[in-house]
Amino acid sequence: MRYLEAGKRHSVTFSLNGRAVEGEAEPRLLLSDFLRQTLGASGTHVGCEHGSCGACTVRIDGKAVRSCLLYAVQVEGRAVTTVEGLAGADGLNPLQAAMRKHHGLQCGFCTPGILMSLSQLYDEEPEADEARIRDVLSGHICRCTGYHGIVQAALDVFGRN
């Protein structure tokens, strides 16, 4: 049992993109704000802050989740992956590269969240078809692309195997 007092900062430790991180957070601090403001990991974007837009999506223990619907203290000891963790030593990962190639972004605000959801889908269902890809994308709001470029980018990668 872990009890944390209100209005005071408490130590929070978890793994971020494979690296142990630590910071201090009040119980009410959202994970999205902890990532951006406490840890300086500003790749995760904050849109609606009530779970509707999908911009702040990160992965926790492999599963895509909204970081605005979680408190930082809840991820104690967990493994968090953000968009900063996608590229390898040799550059953009295939999904990221395909997004660039197919013009899957314009302003880029929604892109980090979309990449995190698509990366879970790719890990679990690399053969996903367009209908399934669109179903997953329905959890994300993009106001620039009309989604076409995003779907094309995903189909490029998901169809390779």
Binding site: M1, A6, P27, L69, S117, Q120
Partner: protein, 282 residues
């Protein structure tokens, strides 16, 4: 958009969690996919959040050996949606889960949380009613028909925690249908209808119809169910369903529109259920 200050307790046993709930401003935090938005909007200001997600043994989907199912309250929506056991024995549940919000919400939201939140437009409370679920808590076992009191309200006591949902086996030769209409994929239903039809010989041995989003709780439509004695009764049952609900107006749709939807969705759900029951549809 920042939530008000609260104390936080990560319980590791049900006893700890129940003890913490003695504080009458306490709230249980499970997946948090409804609670946290409400806190972000400051619609709620609990003194303490009791996080139950680290309590072991509440995340499982198991057969009961008799064709029924036992589901731990902390099971995530995604787990239920993708469970092979659910797809085989309760395909209507898999189909309905696909309408619950989006991947990231289903990864995190819990079955118990959705039931205890009791949103009348949410799928799970309606499915619990349709499948005659029994809801086991730290104090007692409650039938789904008794569980939902009104919109966003259940009969649970302040210090009572839902731990397990059991679904009794469906009768042999049972077909199902689930039809939902929402403005956008993943939105709350403007209306949804779940139905099962069980056949015995040429006779209907049981028909169940539940409507979601058209009342302050999910609703079993017994008058409409009673009219379904043959396939030709589907139209009459759909009309009765439409007459039996009294939805309210809101900015997403008028009461008349919702009533119309209930009729159409009931007809479609019953037709699909009938076809599956007689084996003419997968």
């Amino acid at each position: 958009m920042k939530p008000p200050a609260f104390e936080y307790l990560a319980a590791t046993s049900l006893e700890q969690a129940v003890a913490a709930l003695a504080d009458d401003e306490a709230k249980v935090l499970a997946g948090g996919q409804s609670l946290v938005p409400m806190l972000n909007f400051r619609l709620l200001a609990p003194s303490i959040l009791v996080d139950i997600t680290r309590i072991p043994g509440l995340d499982f989907v198991e057969g009961d050996g008799d064709g029924g199912l036992r589901i731990g309250a902390l099971t995530r929506h995604y787990t239920l949606e993708t469970s092979a056991l659910v797809q085989t024995d309760f395909p209507v549940l898999s189909a309905a889960m696909n309408h619950v919000a989006h991947l990231a919400i289903r990864n995190r939201g819990t079955i118990g949380g959705s039931l205890c939140h009791g949103d009348p437009a949410a799928e799970l409370p309606g499915l619990a009613l349709l499948l005659n679920a029994q809801l086991k808590t730290t104090q007692r076992t409650i039938a789904a028909t008794d569980f939902f009191a009104s919109a966003l309200s259940t009969i649970l006591a302040e210090d009572e925690i839902l731990t397990e949902i059991t679904l009794p086996a469906l009768p042999p030769r049972t077909g199902w249908g689930f039809e939902e209409f929402a403005r956008r994929s993943g939105d709350f239903a403007l209306a949804a209808v779940g139905a099962t039809v069980s056949l015995s010989g040429e006779e209907v041995s049981e028909a169940r119809i539940v409507v979601i989003g058209a009342h302050d709780t999910p609703l079993r439509l017994s008058a409409a169910e009673a009219l379904l004695t043959s396939r030709s009764g589907i139209a009459a049952a759909a009309k009765a369903a439409q007459d039996q609900v009294s939805p309210s107006d809101d900015l997403h749709g008028s009461a008349d529109y919702r009533r119309h939807l209930v009729g159409v969705l009931t007809r479609r759900a019953l037709t699909a259920a009938w076809q599956r029951a007689e084996g003419s549809a997968p």
